[in-house]
Amino acid sequence: MNAVIDIAALLVMPFLLGGIMNRVKAVAAGRRGPPLFQPFHDFLKLLRKGEVVSRTTTLVFKLAPCLSLAAVVAAALFVPLSRGRAFLEFDGDFILFAYFLGLGKFLGLAAALDTGSSFEGMGASRDASFGVLVEPALFLLLGTLAFVTGRGSFADLFRLADGHGTLSLIVLPLAGLALFLLILVEGGRGPVDDPATHLELTMIHEATALDNSGPDLAFIQLARGLKTALYASLIANLVLPFCPGSVLPVVVWLAAPVLVAACAGVIESVLARTRLTHVPQLIFVMTALALIALGSAVFLAGAGAGGAP
């Protein structure tokens, strides 16, 4: 039963989360906004459309969107879902998760460079630079969780509730905030990126998909939505261990991403976009949060409050 919920949620969330962010922004601007599932309708529309492919491109450009989506789907197998369990689990699987996402990103960037367009090249260069900065922050965070829980598989990292009392109270909000920043950076949302802009020179994520159309564009958008949903599921899993019963965790797991999307929408509505050269500072905030979490974990473990081996 839970597996059915998991799969259904993974199919719906990528579209719903984008729809929620857009709706929140529309309401903030005094508009009614498009239907919540507009991203899904757009997806279907794109699937039915033809494609325009630049003559300068090669096979890389044609294959990348498909493979990139496949990489994100593969990464989804290791993410803890509604029961706090993933489809596949083994020690160190979170490294495979991170590099499946990395592979997806690499393919997208390779395709962007393949077009030979200066806009796509600039977008790819920005996306790659920020991706490089995000990676240490992500591993620092996961490493901290591993240190705290003393476990090795992705799903087990989030079993913070199992007797870590004080420590989990410190680590949990820091990890949640860091993951939320990760969604903003990797999902191309404000204040890091502006998904609504038409100005190629300012784009990060959008620029790498400028030359894509039809089903390829649909795959790219789905992969991006799925990535956001996966990170949102991680945030949900931080609180799941504290939810007793069998129904409550599922409800929380379904509600948390919606809340996360709404928060992202609110942030995008009230903040101007950061200057591009200041984005690394925002990513360093994520690293700093992970460092503080690790520091407190080490300190408390030394003081005997933690449960780490």
Binding site: A28, S118, H198, L201, V270, R275
Partner: protein
């Protein structure tokens, strides 16, 4: 002052402008420019039998007067370029070379101004500035842009994300506007409509500049009530465009409250123009010799109510915009133009005032409604995107106050249009208007039979595009759209 003294909108006889020998012309223009006079217009005009007249109009802003010089090129069409000493001449000289073959010797970059396909070429051959080096990469943007805007080509030479140099190539909207004013037998009403389309977003600015030039040449006195309506309309246009610009600046940095709120506020203002004359851009409001719509009935009261409402909303939203840290961090120190650069390039309008230049035609060369209602010059010092945005906020308030002042002292209803009079033959007039974008210049020459012989238009964009090229140097290329929007220059006003 060595040249013939002119006043804004007041004609002089062509004979009163002495045609100097080329050497003396060069010396005198140079001496006046050294004295701090600013080039307002510099253009060729056919002088009969293969000869070309070159006119130069310089502004003495402190004393509210203009100086005009002329010279005649009969055989040899070369002169010493003013550009190396006074960069503000650079586009004027390129233009005179393109249109009349007057060769400025020593011009550092004698490139096409509006010629996209020069004669004898089989494609676009615009010589973009090039920067050599291993790490330099070029980014080409346009001529077709994302979004519904005008065409123009930008070439960035970048070092990584930093713009080292920008070269802008325009001319894609060239339609020969100046020549269209010389159509034989065209009634002035048709020419006024033409002037309104020189730059569609400065409809009232260019329309008023034409009307002022034509009325000057004909010696007509515009009725007082019509003058008041003109001032009111021009300030409504200014407020509407400035509010729209602040909305667009918010949009460029993805600041939703500013974009949505100010966009809606602009609608209140342009809908006021709609109520007055049936066009949101003020098309057809002006008439040669006056105005077509006189704020009759309860329209004046509605204008006042709308102005109050729009000012309230703009105040509230600007308060939000200019106190938001995320907005200020984008605006401040972005796209800075120093006062020295602004003065050297001859920048005008809000962009110049944001860089500390105290230039405002309404105060420097007051004419029409501004002759009796003085406008205070506003300046800011920093010359960055923040200053160009904030000067707009100040000018919005100034415009609304000006409109309220006009409404308070609105002359009693009466004639709205002065009867037309024939143009003075062999005369020369320079008409300056401070449109929302800056100084709008219309200069006209009449022939012996009292018909227009040469019509010259200088939009504020003509000066300020060079300012944008300088502003983006050393900035991130991702900040270019923001810099661009903070200038919001016209392509068709430049291309003519």
């Amino acid at each position: 002052m060595n040249g013939t003294i002119l006043k804004n909108g007041k004609p002089v006889g062509l004979k009163d402008i002495p045609v100097l020998p080329i050497g003396e012309f060069e010396d005198r223009v140079k001496a006046e420019a050294l004295d701090g006079l600013r080039v307002v217009a510099f253009f060729g005009a056919a002088g009969g039998r293969d000869a070309v007249n070159l006119y130069c109009v310089l502004a003495d802003d402190e004393n509210s007067r203009l100086a005009a010089f002329a010279t005649l090129f009969a055989g040899d069409r070369t002169y010493r370029s003013f550009t190396p000493d006074f960069p503000a001449f650079h586009l004027f000289e390129r233009e005179a070379y393109e249109e009349y073959g007057l060769l400025p010797e020593g011009h550092p970059a004698l490139k096409p101004v509006r010629n996209i396909f020069p004669a004898g070429s089989d494609g676009e051959v615009y010589p973009f500035d090039r920067v050599e080096g291993e790490e330099v990469h070029e980014v080409g943007v346009g001529p077709i842009h994302a979004g519904v805007i005008e065409p123009g080509r930008f070439r960035f030479s970048c070092l990584g994300e930093t713009v080292h140099r920008l070269d802008i190539h325009l001319g894609y909207q060239r339609r020969g506007a100046e020549r269209l004013f010389l159509r034989p037998g065209a009634p002035p009403e048709a020419l006024l409509l033409l002037a309104e389309t020189v730059a569609g977003d400065e409809c009232l600015g260019h329309g008023l500049a034409f009307a002022q030039a034509w009325e000057g040449l004909g010696g007509a006195d515009c009725p007082l009530r019509a003058l008041a309506v003109r001032g009111l309309a021009l300030e409504l246009e200014r407020a509407a465009m400035h509010i729209g610009d602040l909305a667009a600046l918010s949009g460029d940095i993805a600041y939703l409250p500013g974009q949505a709120g100010l966009g809606a506020t602009r609608t209140i203002v342009i809908n006021t123009l709609l109520e007055i004359c049936g066009s949101r851009f003020g098309r057809g409001l002006l008439a040669v010799g006056g105005v077509n719509y006189g704020l009759d009935g309860d329209i004046a009261a509605r204008v006042r109510a709308n102005v109050d409402a729009a000012e309230d909303a703009a105040d509230r939203l600007c308060g939000l915009l200019f106190s938001s840290a995320s907005v200020l961090s984008r605006f401040e120190s972005t796209g800075t133009v120093s006062p020295q650069t602004a003065r050297a390039l001859g920048m005008v309008g809000p962009a110049a005032r944001a860089s500390g230049l105290s230039l405002d035609v309404r105060a420097d060369h007051p004419a029409g409604p501004y002759a009796s209602f003085p406008v205070h010059r506003l300046t800011l010092k920093t010359g960055d995107v923040f200053a160009r945005a904030y000067i707009r906020r100040l000018e919005i308030t100034q415009s609304f106050n000006f409109i309220r002042g006009l409404l308070d002292g609105l002359p009693a209803a009466g004639d709205l249009v002065a009867p037309p009079r024939p143009l003075r033959p062999e005369a020369f007039v320079v008409s300056l208007v401070e449109s929302w974008r800056g100084e709008t210049v219309h200069a006209a020459l009449t022939d012996a039979s009292g018909r227009l012989a040469r019509y010259k238009i200088v939009d504020a964009s003509f000066h300020n595009w060079s300012g944008l090229e300088q502003a983006v140097r050393g900035n991130g290329i991702s900040d270019f759209p923001l810099c661009n929007k903070s200038f919001n220059l016209s392509y068709c006003g430049f291309d003519l």
